[in-house]
Amino acid sequence: MTNRCLFKRLMILSTSTWFLIMVVLPFVFMFLMSLSLDGGNTLWPKEWTLVHLTELFDPLYARIAWQSLFFSMMTTGVCLLIGYPAALALTQIPSRWKPLCLSLLMIPFWSSSLVRIYALMTLLKAKGIINSLLMHVGVVHLPLPLLYNNAAVIIGQVYTLIPFMILPLYALLEKHDRCWVEAARDLGASEWQIFWRVFWPYSLPAVGNGILCVFLPAMTLFYIPTLLGGRGSLVLGSVISEQILTQDDWSGGAATSVLLTLFLLVLIGLYQWCFRDREGENV
């Protein structure tokens, strides 16, 4: 009894320590850095300023934030539209093929996502595989502008993030009781009604999880918009990397990061508020 109590306390202590060191402290440092006038080279600012934070109210930032939000929402929407049927299909295939299909989903993760984005570029570019094929077949005479635009960014982000939508959905839908489908059928439900009334409400928690798992990384990814996007495809993530890596403006980068973090915290809060009833139900 006391041993278990001790173990429990140790676990809680180590988890909270980890959370404090890896999450809370960096955020505090970042916040302090954004208040520093001397470029953020020291942990504790020598001269204080609010200028980096007030700069965030510039309409330019609003536009960039909106661009980030737009990319992330589109990516999440497309991931859900493709991922839901894919997860449903995964539950239907014969059980001996399931491990293979799941590994096919996971194997791309073994290589760096940056490398995979370059691979995607060779597919999409003007003389890339897709355009060559289309021109060879004679569907088009001029190469399609597949790369360096917003669509390319969304394709790249969907490609990178879609497993995060499929996996939580698959995990929950796999537990869906076949009897429910039969019961619904027995009571006169059409195929569409079975989906809309029996699968959809059941899968809502996983849909919420999937949205969170895709949306949050989509907001912070910067190399995909940088590599695949055009001049207009500027997002908060790429602004931060630009400020810190190119302009050596650590305080400005820190201020933008604070904005992004607060933005994401609000979204997580919104998500938990939406699913507050369901959490209790599942216990």
Partner: protein, 362 residues
């Protein structure tokens, strides 16, 4: 009696693993029919065929005289109560019960009075906004029944409705379910592997074995005149003596039971069988000690091997003189209120002449 469901020469064998063969029977309007048999005998398959969840390879199912071949479960005038009830946990009780109405495009507001009326009928008034997970097993069963009844089906199909419940509750719910069927005046078709459940609830029982129907009869008919050794052994306890016929009389046969020559009834539909099975239920035997015997009665001598006291009865295992072990059940009553038997004691078994069942061995 009017036939509600007619099964004509049904056969079904999915993937060659299992087969339901040439099944042919009627279900009458307003009766409580039970499909009984051990697991794997095809009783659930038969129920699913009637429900329209699978289509037969051969034969027809008629419901209310209408042929149901190719008609899906969603379009049949029958509804199912599933084994684990298959209630939707993400809906309230009222949403579960009103599901069929919502699928027909009836708004939840319009459906509400009908749902509440039905819930009241099954004794769950006031539970509309509960989650099914908050209810007890018995209450969940009633929600499942109400949900299946909302479309006013001609027949209610029940797939082992008691199997998810504990023993005590099952006893009560048997009576309740039977009473509900009588008040609704509806045809119930129930699948069970529990012979006690089948005996106590059914108007008729369809006994099945390995994809075939063994016997269709009333509980009493099945218990008192089984048409096969299998039926006798599946329903209740039975002592079976398989023996050759020594002598044929006008209305009786002489056979050796436990090594003692005895007279038994002649099987009804067989003239002179050479071998017969004589079936005597444990409760039809009486065990006597040697100072209680009288001249006019026939006895099988044996030895008491074990005595089990069960409250209202005493159960004996008696080794007959030729080594055959039989079970005997004795009831306490006014004439015999002590029932003292000792292990190893010599005993003599008698039975009510004519209560034995004699089957010709084919």
């Amino acid at each position: 009696m009017k036939s509600m469901i007619q099964c004509r020469d049904l056969a079904w064998s999915p993937k060659g693993l299992f087969s339901l063969q040439a099944t042919d029977f009627d279900i009458y309007s307003g009766e409580f029919l039970t499909l009984l048999g051990p697991s794997g005998c095809g009783k659930t398959s038969l129920l699913r065929l009637i429900g329209g969840f699978v289509q037969p390879d051969q034969g027809d199912i008629l419901i209310n005289g209408r042929c149901m071949n190719g008609v899906d479960a969603s379009d049949r005038p029958v509804n199912m109560v599933f084994q684990n009830y298959a209630l939707f946990p993400f809906m309230t009780v009222a949403e579960n019960v009103g599901f069929a109405l919502r699928c027909q495009g009836i708004s939840s507001k319009e459906a509400r009075p009908r749902v509440s009326a039905l819930l009241a009928k099954v004794g769950l008034a006031g539970y509309e906004d509960c989650s099914p997970n908050e209810l007890s097993g018995g209450q969940q069963q009633r929600v499942a029944i109400a949900r299946a009844l909302i479309n006013e089906p001609s027949v209610l199909l029940l797939d082992e409705p008691m199997s998810a419940l504990d023993y005590q509750l099952r006893q009560t719910l048997r009576r309740e379910l039977k009473a509900l069927q009588k008040t609704l005046g509806l045809t119930f078709v129930m699948v069970t592997h529990d012979q006690e459940e089948a005996l106590s609830m059914s108007d008729r029982i369809v006994l099945m074995r390995e994809g075939k129907i063994v016997q269709i009869d009333t509980p009493r008919g099945l218990y008192e005149s089984p048409k096969s050794v299998y039926a006798a052994q599946f329903i209740g306890e039975a002592n079976v003596f398989s023996t050759i016929v020594e002598e044929v009389h006008e209305d009786a046969l002489s056979v050796k039971l436990g090594g003692t020559l005895s007279r038994v009834r002649k099987p009804a539909n067989s003239d002179t069988p050479s071998c017969v099975h004589v079936i005597i239920r444990p409760e039809d035997f009486q065990a006597w000690s040697d100072d209680e015997l009288d001249e006019s009665t026939h006895y099988l001598p044996g030895c008491v091997e074990s005595v089990t006291y069960k409250g209202s009865t005493v159960e004996l295992q008696v080794r007959l003189d030729n080594g055959h072990l039989v079970r005997v059940m004795e009831f306490f009553d006014e004439t015999d209120d002590t029932l003292e038997y000792k292990q190893g004691e010599k005993t003599y078994l008698s039975w009510h002449a004519g209560w034995e069942v004699v089957l010709a061995d084919d």
